[in-house]
């Protein structure tokens, strides 16, 4: 994929992970040597055995029995060694994979949100899951086949040359032909496979779009058109697939053909050598076994090499993730924020997600303990960014954010976040029971506390109506709940243990307004004496805030109470009045 250099460092790193199991690795290698030697010795013994059975009345049963006994011992040794080797390899591979995966995941927990927000989830998941799986397959194959394959080739060569150099030469000269043929076919079919996967990608794209939005397709009567578009690409795919599959499937017959040439060559030259008295029939039969054994690892190794390369590429992708710069270390003398009073200050804060695009340039805000601050403004004005900075999901580029007079970079992230309670628009729930989800931030909560929180969030009644009440299992991302119900659970999660400061980012956007009114009351109680930040686009929900910040393009353009802002007749007044444009036009 990349340069040889990265490949080499990747190999080094993989070896470092493996070195933890060096005892198993050495054991496995020793066992491989044992297996190969015994496997190679068996055909020689078989050949000798055959030499003991020359013809009618010319069979030496005593010698034959002794040789066969030797063979029996050898195969028992081989079998046992092979089995132990398999166990070792298995263990090494899966342990290494687990180590790498755990390392990757732990690193993930320590990555800044900047990384997580800017990389598609699918990409990260495929690195931690699919890539590591690929890597493990490659590693296992490499262990089981690569090393023993090379040993077999070397061993066979030594055995063959020590018996008869001429015939050995025949084998050595013809065998590489199969490699040449295989790589020739691979090269030729590469473009065919590329075309196939390109067309397949196109088809998958169409399928994704049309099937995922099938309801829209049907609503607009687009079915026939979709089918005819599908048919065109499908036909094209059929053509490309046929070519790719057919030509690539020639590899096997071709290499087998080369093998049969080797076999015929050995047979021919061997038989002549026997006639000339240079060889016995039994040795010829061992040679024939070798000819088979020798070509097999060649075919296997060419497969293993591509697999290994693939595994290395995958490993490199995983390492790339592990190498991502983690969160900045907390200073050693970082303070622990205990029960914050709740004064928050943003002092000349500048921040942007992308360096070239200024978002917040000079943001100033002073909040006294217990104040309720509402933030409004059009989409993309930076409302959620302010929240990101308050929670220190992102660090400011310039200026600083202080809580109780201390720069939040000088306190532990943990203690800062412990002082905030947060409800977001995206209603994330864990796969697990409702009870576990409500108690997420406070796993030791008693049942009474959980039910109390659920009641406060107006979630109790719908939870009770579910099949298993509080023990109902929520599927991944809350699939079996409505958006509104999910939001209620998120609210209950915060209600369970209220920290000194609150952040509500569109916390009620999916809840119908009648329920919302009821929750507002709970919120009002919750916010009493707590510094709160409320982001909302329904203006009715924020009228009671102590101060409303109106943001546009990353900066505060107006601030004040609801009445003050209306009196100002600025942007806020315009936004607010636009809700009632009908009243105005209808008279």
């Amino acid at each position: 994929m990349q340069s040889k250099e990265t490949e080499r460092t990747t190999i080094k790193r993989v070896l470092r992970y493996i070195s933890k199991y060096s005892f198993l690795v050495i054991l496995s290698l020793l066992l491989a040597v044992v297996t190969v030697v015994t496997t190679l010795y068996t055909p020689i013994l078989t050949g000798r055995a055959i030499d003991e059975i020359v013809g009618k009345g010319a069979v030496n049963f005593a010698n034959l029995f002794a040789i066969l006994k030797k063979i029996a011992v050898l195969i028992l040794i081989t079998g046992t060694a092979q089995w132990l080797m398999n166990i070792c390899n298995n263990r090494i591979t899966f342990r290494v994979v687990k180590d790498v995966r755990t390392k990757a995941f732990f690193h993930l927990e320590n990555l800044p949100l900047r990384y997580i927000d800017s990389h598609p989830y699918g990409d990260v998941v495929s690195r931690v899951i699919a890539d590591i799986d690929q890597f493990s397959d490659g590693l296992l194959m490499g262990f089981t086949q690569f090393f023993s394959g090379i040993l077999t080739i070397l061993g066979t060569l030594i055995f063959m040359f020590s018996i008869n150099a001429k015939i050995a030469l025949v084998v050595v000269i013809i065998t590489p032909v199969s490699l040449v043929v295989a790589s020739y076919i691979a090269k030729k079919t590469y473009t065919m496979f590329q075309k196939q996967s390109q067309t397949r990608g196109e088809l998958t794209g169409l399928i994704n779009e049309m099937v995922e939005n099938q309801t829209v397709v049907q609503a607009f009567g687009y079915e026939d058109e979709a089918i005819s578009r599908f048919e065109t690409i499908n036909e094209e795919l059929a053509g490309h697939s046929l070519k790719a599959i057919f030509f690539s499937s020639l590899t096997n017959p071709c290499t087998r053909f080369v093998n049969s040439l080797v076999y015929a060559g050995v047979c021919l030259f061997g038989a002549i050598a026997v006639v000339n008295g240079h060889l016995t029939v039994g040795i010829l039969s061992s040679f024939l076994s070798y000819a088979n054994q020798y070509t097999k690892p060649f075919n296997e190794i060419s497969g293993v090499v591509t697999e290994l390369q693939n595994a290395l590429a995958c490993a490199a992708r995983v390492f790339e993730l592990i190498d991502e710069e983690p969160l900045s270390k907390e200073p050693l003398n970082a303070t622990v924020l205990m029960d914050a009073e709740g004064s928050v200050e943003m002092d000349h804060v500048a921040f942007s997600y992308v360096p070239e695009q200024n978002l917040i340039t000079d943001f100033n805000l002073k909040v006294k303990p217990g104040q309720r601050i509402a933030i409004v403004g059009p989409t993309g004005c930076g409302k959620s960014t302010v929240i990101n900075l308050l929670m220190r999901f992102y660090d400011v580029d310039d200026g600083c954010v202080r809580v109780d007079g201390t720069d939040i970079r000088d306190m532990t992230r943990r203690s800062l976040r412990e002082n905030y309670g947060m409800v977001l628009q995206e209603t994330w729930l864990k796969a697990g029971t409702i009870r576990e989800n409500i108690a997420y931030g406070y796993p030791d909560a008693t049942d009474e506390e959980i039910i109390k929180a659920a009641k406060a969030a107006h979630a109790h009644s719908f939870i009770e109506r579910m099949s298993d009440g509080y023990d109902t299992v929520i599927t991944e991302e809350g699939g079996n709940l409505s958006q509104g119900q999910k939001q209620l659970l998120c609210i209950a999660r915060v209600m369970l243990k209220l920290p000194p400061m609150l952040i509500l980012d569109e916390a009620t956007s999916s809840i119908d307004t009648r329920t919302e009114i009821r929750i507002q009351k709970a919120f009002a109680k919750m916010m009493e004496g707590r510094t709160s930040f409320i982001v909302a686009h329904r203006l009715s929900t924020i009228k009671e805030a102590d101060r409303i910040l109106v943001m546009k393009a990353g900066n505060i353009i107006e601030q004040g109470t609801h009445e003050e802002l209306l009196a100002q007749g600025g942007f806020y007044a315009e936004l607010y009045n636009s809700q009632y444009i009908n009243t105005a036009t209808a008279g």
């Binding site: 003991e52 059975i53 006639v275 088979n292």
Partner: protein
């Protein structure tokens, strides 16, 4: 339905493929006999000419084998790809016929897996099957028969060894199969953990739960490894054990062969042939085991595909004549309509009864889950009513051909979906032959003209898949324009202005009203919303609560008569406004 029926079109290929493969296999079986002949005749008689002739024969056999194999591969590839192509097309057709009910039940993500990776699995399984399914048993049993041909006593060893090998190979497979299923499940769990930690990263960090998450991941991943190592240990037994069995057989063959040679029944070369046959079996058995794994995978996939193909469509597109309107004074009427989703226990709509006149704007309001969307989805017959009837122009919607009914309706779904292609192409979904003028007009009404005009390529601007290059509000306005292009008789906006700010929303409604007026009351509009301000000017407002219609009337009437409606309004408007409106 039989999944093999798709092979009928490739009958020739699916017979010839395996046939040529068998011919090739027969050659593999002949080779050991040639070797035996070289030794017994050529070497024994010092006949170099014979040895060269036989060597030449072996090479010739190799060439023929290559040719036969190539032909077999071609037929197999042709049948497999042809089969997959046909199944894929049929499956896609089927998906386009499924009604909303089936789509809800099955879920689109499964459908996508089935039409992509499942079919690929079937294709490669079939390809492999056509090539090897007959060949491997043929070689195994062929070797045994050839052994009998050489010597009866030695062949009896084959009769013992083959079943023993079969028991080991399939026994191990049988034992490990459930473990591999378990491994897949455990891997899914690990995947879930990773995804959760990405999607929920803010909550996890806000609640400082990283350490617990790490612990849980470690548990899941340790559990996975444990199962993997265990399954690996069992399947790791297979190779050594088969090796031992085959070689034990070999020892027996040599011993018994030796006895037979001693009594002059067979020759030394024939012993070598027997040894060769024994080795061939080992190679083929391993191939066969791999083959069975991939074929059983393919069968499972084929079963899943069949499941979809056999799904009955509850609402079919049938070629029935378009009925004449019966009563044009009522555009849409619901008569005691009740509706239940799939196998849900509770009705989503119960006894709904109302009439919408041509040109009217109907507001539909209610809390989340009150049945608003369900109600409008019944008009274009996305779902069938459980009882009662929905009439359009006085005719039951079930009596229309689906295409004709849906052509009357322009719908703007909640989720603003656009398709890859230009803006123009997306607009033409509404009307195939829409001119640029018609499109511009629709864009203007939908409040989308301004931003489309600002785009460099105007109507030719490319929309990426899923409309990723547009904001939520822009997407929503384009989906509204798409529905307007066809100037539908019935326009349905299903809470489809939620991403618009209040000012744009209000302008949109004014423009819609103008459009309806210009169309001489030919357009009846259904406005579904949670916002009271959106529907307050409608000619008729339907108030839904928990699936029941609890109020019908104008804003003013309902404020007086409908408690639920008043509560909704009070939650969104100021008290003074509500009181003023009620007067």
């Amino acid at each position: 339905m039989n999944m093999f029926s798709y092979l009928k079109a490739y009958k020739k290929e699916s017979i010839l493929g395996p046939l040529f493969k068998l011919l090739e296999a027969s050659i593999d079986l002949i080779v050991p006999l040639v070797v035996a002949a070289i030794i017994d005749v050529g070497v024994a008689n010092n006949d170099r000419g014979y040895i060269f002739r036989m060597g030449g024969l072996m090479i010739a056999l190799g060439v023929i084998g290559l040719a036969l194999a190539a032909i077999a591969q071609y037929f197999a590839a042709k049948a497999a790809t042809g089969y997959a192509t046909a199944v894929r097309l049929d499956l896609f057709r089927k998906i386009n016929q499924l009604s909303y009910n089936e789509l809800d039940r099955i879920g689109t993500s499964t459908l996508i897996t089935r039409i992509t990776s499942d079919i690929n699995q079937v294709q490669s399984g079939l390809n492999l099957g056509l090539r090897l399914l007959l060949r491997s048993p043929f070689i195994v049993f062929g070797s045994m028969i050839m052994a009998f041909h050489v010597n009866r006593a030695a062949a009896m060893i084959f009769v013992v060894v083959i079943p023993a090998l079969a028991i080991v190979v399939y026994g191990v497979m049988f034992i490990t199969m459930p473990y591999y299923k378990k491994i897949q499940q455990k891997l899914d769990l690990v995947t879930l953990k990773v995804r959760e930690n990405l999607v929920g990263v803010r909550v996890i960090r806000a609640f400082n739960r990283q350490e617990e998450e790490k612990k849980q991941f470690d548990e899941a991943s340790t559990d996975l490894v444990r199962t993997q190592v265990f399954a690996g240990r069992i399947s790791g037994i297979m190779n050594p054990l088969t090796y031992v069995i085959i070689n034990a057989g070999l020892i027996a063959v040599v011993w018994i062969g030796g006895k037979e040679v001693d009594t002059g029944i067979i020759s030394q070369g024939e012993v070598i042939a027997l040894v060769n046959y024994m080795s061939q079996i080992l190679v083929e058995l391993v191939k066969l085991a791999n083959l069975i794994v991939s074929i059983s995978k393919a069968m499972a996939c084929a079963g899943r595909i069949r499941g979809i193909l056999e799904t009955k469509t509850s609402i079919k597109r049938e070629a029935i004549p378009v009925p004449e309107p019966v009563d044009e004074s009522v555009k849409v009427a619901f008569e005691q309509v009740s509706f239940t989703y799939g196998k849900a226990k509770k009705e989503s709509l119960l006894g709904i009864d109302f009439r919408a006149k041509p040109g009217q704007t109907i507001g539909v309001i209610g809390g989340t889950g009150s049945g608003k969307s369900s109600l409008v989805n019944l008009i274009p017959r996305f779902y069938d009513v459980t009882s009662g009837a929905v009439l359009v122009d006085g005719v039951n919607v079930k009596d229309y051909p689906l295409d004709a009914l849906r052509a009357k309706v322009g719908i703007v779904p909640q989720r603003a979906v656009l398709f890859a292609g230009t803006i123009r192409e997306n607009m033409q979904w509404g009307k195939k032959d829409a001119t640029d003028e018609e499109i511009q007009e629709a864009l203007a009404t939908a409040q989308a003209k301004e931003f489309v005009d600002q785009m460099e390529d105007g109507l030719d601007t490319k929309i990426l898949q899923g409309g990723k290059n547009l904001s939520g509000g822009q997407r929503q306005r384009l989906t509204i324009a798409r529905a307007l292009v066809r100037k539908p008789e019935i326009l349905i906006l299903d809470d489809s202005a939620s991403a618009l700010d209040f000012a744009t929303d209000a302008r949109l409604r004014l423009a819609l009203r103008d459009m309806a007026k210009n169309l001489n009351d030919k357009m009846t509009v259904f406005l579904v919303s949670q916002r009271a301000s959106t529907i307050r000017d409608a000619d008729q407002i339907l108030v839904l609560d928990d699936g029941a219609l609890v109020g019908v009337g104008t804003h003013k009437e309902l404020l007086k008569s409908c408690e639920v409606y008043r509560e909704i309004c009070l939650s969104q408007l100021t008290k003074e406004e509500v009181e003023r409106d009620a007067k």
